[in-house]
């Protein structure tokens, strides 16, 4: 049995009076890629953003239940969301590099988290992160140019490099390739395979083939007909979800009959 790094228990999220997701209970396994799939508006991103308390930035949000990270509930009183996000990083749908140099894009996060090393040590951290994000060879000669001078796919890998430079345990990815062309998408997927050796990845995707290609585990989400509230209807090894789903709705969805 693989080791569980995050245990989601009875998680519910409301936006004001709107009940967005209900009673989600789900394990996230260490050094594996877990995909969250499901039709639009079923709460995939809400679930993902609840895992490092990014959801709290939205006014009027309310969360109940538990997200146990290595046994500790991240919603417990006394847990600072800043330190949660330091351990559970996030990559967004649209590449969002800082309006700074490629070097600074990575160095900033390292510095604000209390890095006190020398310039040479920081250089090494930046280089390692870029290497691990498979971006180093493309940018090593222009580290001090703007992050915006890169292509969309390179920008997204820069955002991944920025995240892994902090050595988090878990990386949450919210449709990380949906704004990219097929070749850039492929590179991100290959990168994810490399990264899972060192990190745990949870990825939200609209793209069924992508989920089947990259993930080890899949959680299928669905809206309840009458309440419009999303929940996880099936979870398991990706291969099983895509070949022998136990829920009829999952089968319809992964075979493209709706959604």
């Amino acid at each position: 049995m693989p080791e569980t790094i995050i245990e989601i228990r009875n998680l519910s999220v409301w936006y004001g009076n709107f009940h967005a997701i209900r009673d989600v209970t789900l394990p996230i396994y260490r050094n594996a890629i877990t995909a969250i799939i499901g039709p639009s508006g079923c709460g995939k991103s809400t679930l993902l953003r609840s895992l490092n308390r990014m959801n709290e930035l939205i006014p009027g949000v309310r969360t109940t239940g538990e997200v146990l990270y290595q046994g500790q509930n991240i919603y417990a009183p006394g847990v600072d969301p800043v330190s949660v996000r330091r351990r559970i990083g996030m990559v967004f749908q649209k590449p969002n590099p800082f309006p700074k140099s490629i070097y600074e894009n990575i160095a900033w996060g390292v510095r604000i988290n209390g890095f006190r090393g020398s310039k040479a040590e920081l250089d090494a951290v930046v280089e390692n992160a870029l290497r691990q994000a498979a971006l180093w060879d493309e940018v090593k000669h222009k580290l001090h140019e703007s992050g915006f001078s890169l292509s969309g796919g390179q920008q997204q890998r820069l955002c991944i490099a920025r995240t892994i430079a902090l050595r988090p345990e878990v990386i949450l990815m919210d449709e990380p390739a949906s704004a990219l062309d097929p070749i850039a998408t492929l590179r991100i997927e290959e990168l994810m395979q490399e990264l899972k050796k060192d990190f745990t990845i949870v990825v939200v995707t609209h793209n069924m083939q992508q989920a089947a290609r990259v993930s080890d585990y899949t959680a299928m989400m669905m809206l309840a007909e009458e309440t419009r509230t999303g929940t996880v209807i099936e979870f398991g090894e990706t291969q099983k979800i895509f070949t022998h789903p136990s829920d009829k709705r999952t089968e319809d969805y992964v075979t493209g009959r709706f959604g």
Binding site: L57, N96, I112, G147, C159
Partner: protein, 293 residues
């Protein structure tokens, strides 16, 4: 055999639509022409009157009852130091207030009430600020008719402008930029200091330009607090009495001699130059910030 033009249908209707567009463009052009004519007439008139009087003495001499000896020395000093002191007080307080309201303040009825009042304050007639300054700084704090009292009054006057502009600039910071920083484990203050403020800085500077340009031309509140019009010595400190360019100009305009009218025109040219210089500096700073990435 002629081929039918496939675009010919409804040609008459299309012609009328284009005509309407051209008519409106013409009206809009007339409007700008009118504004330009008034401005250019004003400038020509001022320059014709004032240019011969724009001599070195104008900058080095104190006011005098003889027009050929009179200058703007004390008014220039007053305006210069008034701007410096006002900027030093209003800019930090204004930006800090904007940061608090936009980034930290809980969205309560009290916060909204404060916000509405600040927006309203931006539209309060300046003479009201003069009366407030007279009561609070000149009399209440016992600062007298000093440069400091004037700068404090001016600061109050432009504070709402700076706050409103800074808040709008902070609100325009893209959510994706904030999220990127927060997801790296940044504290709210680190996000504000390194990203939100930097992104908003061009907008904040625009607000400061507007505010300072307003302050340099304001006369009413300074007259109210008793900024003297005849000062024949150098400014010795922030608690000294003072005068400013618009007050000196006003004083000269109100004198009967024709030469003082011309001197006033020269003063207007100096004031215009002063304002332009300040704006140019701020625009230069803003563009440098924008060009970084």
């Amino acid at each position: 055999m002629s081929t039918a033009n496939p675009f010919s249908e409804n040609a008459e209707h299309l012609r009328r639509r284009h005509l309407k567009g051209a008519l409106l463009a013409g009206l809009a052009f007339l409007a700008i022409l009118l504004a330009m004519i008034v401005l250019v007439t004003l400038l020509i008139d001022v320059f014709l009157d004032g240019l011969p009087w724009l001599r070195p003495q104008l900058f080095t001499n104190f006011p005098s009852r003889f027009p050929e000896k009179a200058g703007l020395r004390s008014a220039l000093q007053g305006s210069f130091w008034l701007m410096i002191l006002t900027a030093l007080m209003a800019i930090p307080v204004g930006i800090a207030s904007a940061i608090y309201l936009e980034e930290y303040a809980p969205q309560t009825a009290l916060t909204r009430w404060i916000e509405i009042n600040i927006s309203n304050l931006a539209g309060v007639p300046s003479i009201i600020y003069g009366l407030l300054g007279l009561g609070l700084f000149v009399r209440g704090l016992g600062l007298g008719r000093s440069l400091l009292a004037g700068a404090l009054t001016m600061s109050l006057l432009i504070l709402p402008i700076i706050i409103v502009a800074s808040r709008e600039a902070l609100r325009a910071v893209p959510r994706s930029l904030r999220e990127a920083a927060i997801a790296l484990g940044a504290t709210p203050w680190q996000v504000i200091r390194d990203h939100a403020l930097q992104y908003a800085m061009p907008g904040i500077l625009t607000g400061i330009i507007l505010a300072m340009s307003r302050a340099v031309g304001e006369t009413a509140p300074l007259i109210t607090i008793g900024a003297l019009t005849y000062i024949a010595f150098d400014l010795r400190g922030p608690l000294d009495i003072f005068t400013v360019l618009p007050i000196q100009i006003f004083n000269w305009v109100s004198l009967p001699q024709k030469d003082f009218q011309r001197l006033a025109a020269a003063g207007i040219i100096v004031l215009l130059g002063f304002t332009l210089l300040m704006n140019a500096l701020a625009i230069f700073l803003r563009n440098r910030l924008r060009q970084r990435w």
